[in-house]
Amino acid sequence: MNIRLYIWQRGTAALLAPMVLVHLAVIFYATRQGLSAAEILGRTRGSLTWGSFYGAFVVAAAIHAAIGIGNILSEWTPMGDKTARGLSLWFGLLLFVVGMRAVFAVVSG
């Protein structure tokens, strides 16, 4: 891992650490309050705040996970660094698309 990847991975980790805590707090709140899916969507739809929060979450997670997966593939499998980075880039893109689709689903409409 070179310094660019290191900075991106540590930077996104620093961003994700508080975001995961907020995300867990939201889950606890929603379950403890017994919110239905309709009630949750009622609060998230059209919300710029939740859209921005989870949009940033998805971007950070896609970057962070892609770099980590690339490292694991490069170090623990026989594939070369270039192949590992290529595969991890596709994995990151997949996470980004799937994640943004989910964000779109809960904030749009």
Binding site: M1, N2, I3, R4, L5, Y6, I7, S74, E75, W76, D81
Partner: protein, 241 residues
């Protein structure tokens, strides 16, 4: 008191080979190097291994003893043998030349790739640079300067095993000592080497280097300091890629 002889398995062969068993008399204050030397002198003169000083200074006698890398001249059998048995193999993560002798070339090539060579900033005509022993930079350099290049940290490192390009703890520790030498003029190339793909940022901080270093150095701390310094230099735009 006559003691039971030691049961010693020693790696014989090259990259491929097998362990062969030897019975070696048990002695007081016996080191692992004594055991290997006994086998060479009294049982099989074709056994190959490397040593020089026998007092923990030269760093040439490191081997894998009971699955852990150690300097054999300062390792007492009584402290590492399991019920009177020893398994002695060449260092891991290095090509085996023959028996217990490894090819240290990759280790020293990476030492150079990490810019572990002093680059003078003055000529012989300049005055000698005064360096106070208690300066913070000198203290940081002193913490890692006693490396004897035995290769124990390199053999113990998981990242070296996983990543062929990784420079390894000794080379990066050496780079960190030079980073703290203000007489040195090669800092930017050194930080560039540390910041490249196989540099300090590949380290997982497993700390096996620190755990096994026979000199009780802390290469993990040196690498962590290199990570921080190279990152700050890069973010300030002073580390050309």
């Amino acid at each position: 008191v006559r003691q039971t002889p030691l049961s010693v398995s020693i790696w014989r062969g090259g990259q491929t080979g097998t362990f062969e068993n030897y019975s070696v008399p048990c002695r007081d204050n016996q080191t692992v190097l004594d055991v290997v030397t006994y086998v060479k002198r009294h049982i099989d003169p074709t056994l190959s291994y490397r040593f020089a000083c026998r007092v923990g200074m030269c760093g040439s006698c490191a081997m894998t003893v009971n699955w852990r890398p150690r300097w054999t001249c300062r390792t007492h059998v009584s402290k590492v043998s399991h019920g009177g048995t020893l398994e002695i193999a060449p260092l891991s993560n290095l090509p085996v030349i023959k028996d217990l002798a490894t090819d240290m070339k990759p280790f020293f090539e990476k030492w150079q790739a990490a810019e572990g060579v002093f680059e003078p900033s003055k000529t012989r005509d300049d005055a000698v640079e005064p360096v106070q022993p208690d300066e913070p930079e000198r203290t940081a350099a002193d913490a890692g300067i006693e490396c004897i290049n035995c290769g124990v940290c390199y053999a113990a490192c998981d990242t070296v095993r996983w990543n062929d390009d990784y420079l390894g703890p000794a080379a990066l520790n050496r780079a960190w000592t030079l980073v703290n030498d203000r007489r040195d003029a090669g800092q930017i190339p050194r930080l560039q080497a540390a910041a490249a793909g196989g540099g300090c940022h590949a380290c997982h901080s497993h700390q096996t280097c620190t755990e096994f270093c026979p000199q009780s150095l802390n290469p993990t701390a040196a690498i962590a300091s290199l990570k921080k310094l190279s990152m700050m230099t890069y973010l300030r735009g002073k580390l050309p890629s």
